[in-house]
Amino acid sequence: MKTVFEPTVGMLPVDTSYCPGCTHGIAHRLIMEVLEEKGELGNTMGVVPIGCSINAHNFMNIDMCESTHGRAPAIASGIRRIHPDRIVFTYQGDGDLASIGAGEIIHAAHRGEKFTTFFINNGIYGMTGGQMAPTTLIGARTTTCVDGRTVEQAGLPLRMCEIISQIDCAVFVERVVLNNPANVRKAKAVIRKAIEIQKAGLGFTFVEILSSCPTNWGLTPVDSLKYVSEDVMDYYPVKNFKTPEGF
């Protein structure tokens, strides 16, 4: 019999704690598959954020450390100084990265830190129960904007790829989406490229992954993916912002 699918050894053989329809699990698996394929699982250190994925170290089968809220890029910078020849990544949500940790991500990019940040953007605070994030779309209802986010009250959503790509030492910046199998495969290719560029020591690499949060959006998993495909992708274009020559 031919094997058509095997779970990556990069994921521990346990159930994740994520809600049905949440795309954290897919994002985890893609990163671990890439690291396994590259033979780097045992050579990698990951930093998990404060947010739903704080428990990612219970699922990803690699060395990991927890972060204070938003400071993962600073922590990864420290790890890189000790192990300059190994792989380091941060895995951060939108509250963690775009709100409380906005300073650290800008300056890690500014220094051209040679690690990769995977930015999971689902436009909401999941862990704390569905509050507005800097990335929440106009009109979207959250527990801190129950009638929907307005420009007057909270400004317009923050586009992190657009900001990071302005920083010269951020050498690879791309936004991907996990709304259908074809895009999941494309996302994996982008993750692979980010790791390869990190390995080449060219500078800071940043992959934004548009995700869904059915529980806090109050939508079914299917409707959530529809919301991603229509509204989210409309505001956050899925595209490459920057790639170094030769990649």
Partner: protein, 358 residues
């Protein structure tokens, strides 16, 4: 190795380098700027790394990352910067990661001033950390002692897998004294660290099993057990890390309790009191946590008053009262805001305090 005349801040940095420090992360703040400046041009020569962090928040978290990865890490700041680092330090305690942090303190509160202060006593000994946390704190009184304590602090931090704080004031940072440095330990590289620090995150290919450094424990019983484990370490630290120096305490009428720069002024005040026919001594706590309660057992019934002498409105006095435990009257001599009293002022105020209890 012969003595060199060196500024405190530069000597602090050199001591850390000698101790085999892999990384230093810092953000400019007076009066400790010479520490990051010195590190920026000297640390890489010894094989370490320097980052000028974007904030103290980032600095303490860089330190956490590098130490979680097995490195020997030093950070320094001054009072308001230390306030910013507190979240990180408490978190690092829970994660059981060793780092050495230095506070070259100044007058507060708020942005305050930049002249020497000790009003960070509560900040360093109690801290603004959330949760049950203890951090060993050492307060040197001269540059040589600072160097020796910093050099040793890395070993203490690693033994207890906990931060250690060195608490100096701006005067110690800015002044120069002759100093002799201990021998330089080699700064370890990535592979050596992977071998030598079995709990650190270095990549699973480089050690047995899989390492995770974390503080989140959502189940209360699991968290309680973790805190109890931390407090077993702290109980041992309370036995092992007590340091103090008693000067002429046995036959003193007045016993000053003072640390750092203030202790040096008190020693001179004792000489002035002696000229006036009053015997005085000094208890100089070197470890502020654990506080040297045992030092107070040397006080005899010749003593009429114990005076906590501080560059703050009276913070250490709470620990002094606990240590004295009602055996002698306790009073306070304090200046704050960056004002350092002269030995004459201390002598005069001590005489007045003595009058009041007689």
């Amino acid at each position: 190795m012969s003595k060199v005349l060196m500024m405190g801040n530069e000597a602090f940095a050199e001591a850390a380098i000698r101790a085999g420090c892999n990384c230093y992360f810092g953000y400019p703040i007076t009066p400790q700027n010479e520490v990051p400046e010195y590190m920026s041009h000297e640390l890489h020569k010894a094989g370490g790394s320097f980052i000028q962090a974007e904030s103290e928040l980032a600095a303490v978290n860089m330190a956490y990352g590098a130490a979680a990865a097995g490195g020997r890490v030093f950070i320094s700041t001054s009072s308001p910067g230390f306030a910013l680092m507190q979240e990180g330090l408490g978190f690092i305690c829970s994660c059981e990661v060793p780092i050495v942090a230095m506070n070259v303190s100044r007058g507060g509160p708020g942005v305050g001033g930049i002249q020497p202060g000790q009003a960070d006593y509560f900040q360093v000994t109690r801290g603004g950390y959330n949760g049950d946390v203890k951090i060993p704190v050492f307060a040197p009184a001269n540059i040589q002692e600072s160097v020796d304590l910093i050099y040793e602090a890395f070993d203490i931090a690693e033994k207890y897998r906990n931060p250690v704080v060195i608490f100096a004031d701006g005067m110690l940072g800015q002044m120069m004294e002759p100093v002799e440095f201990p021998p330089a330990k080699p700064i370890k590289g990535s592979d050596e660290i992977s071998k030598d620090v079995p709990w650190a995150i270095t990549g699973t290919d480089h050690h047995e099993g899989r390492n995770v450094v974390f503080s989140l424990r959502l189940q209360p019983d699991v968290l309680e057990n973790h805190v109890l484990h931390m407090f077993e370490k702290y109980a041992e630290a309370e036995k092992e890390l007590v340091r103090y120096k008693n000067i002429n305490v046995e036959d003193a009428e007045i016993v000053f309790v003072a640390f750092g720069t203030m202790a040096r002024i008190c020693v001179e005040a004792c000489e002035l009191l002696e000229e006036k026919g009053v015997k005085a001594g000094v208890i100089r706590p070197i470890s502020l946590w654990p506080f040297p309660n045992a030092a107070f057992d040397a006080i005899t019934d010749k003593t009429k008053i114990v005076i906590s002498t501080e560059l703050s409105m009276g913070q250490m006095i709470e620990d002094v009262r606990t240590a004295v435990a009602g055996r002698w009257p306790v009073s306070l001599i304090s200046r704050t805001g960056g004002i350092v009293p002269t030995s004459i002022e201390v002598m005069e105020r001590a005489l007045k305090a003595l009058e009041e209890v007689k």
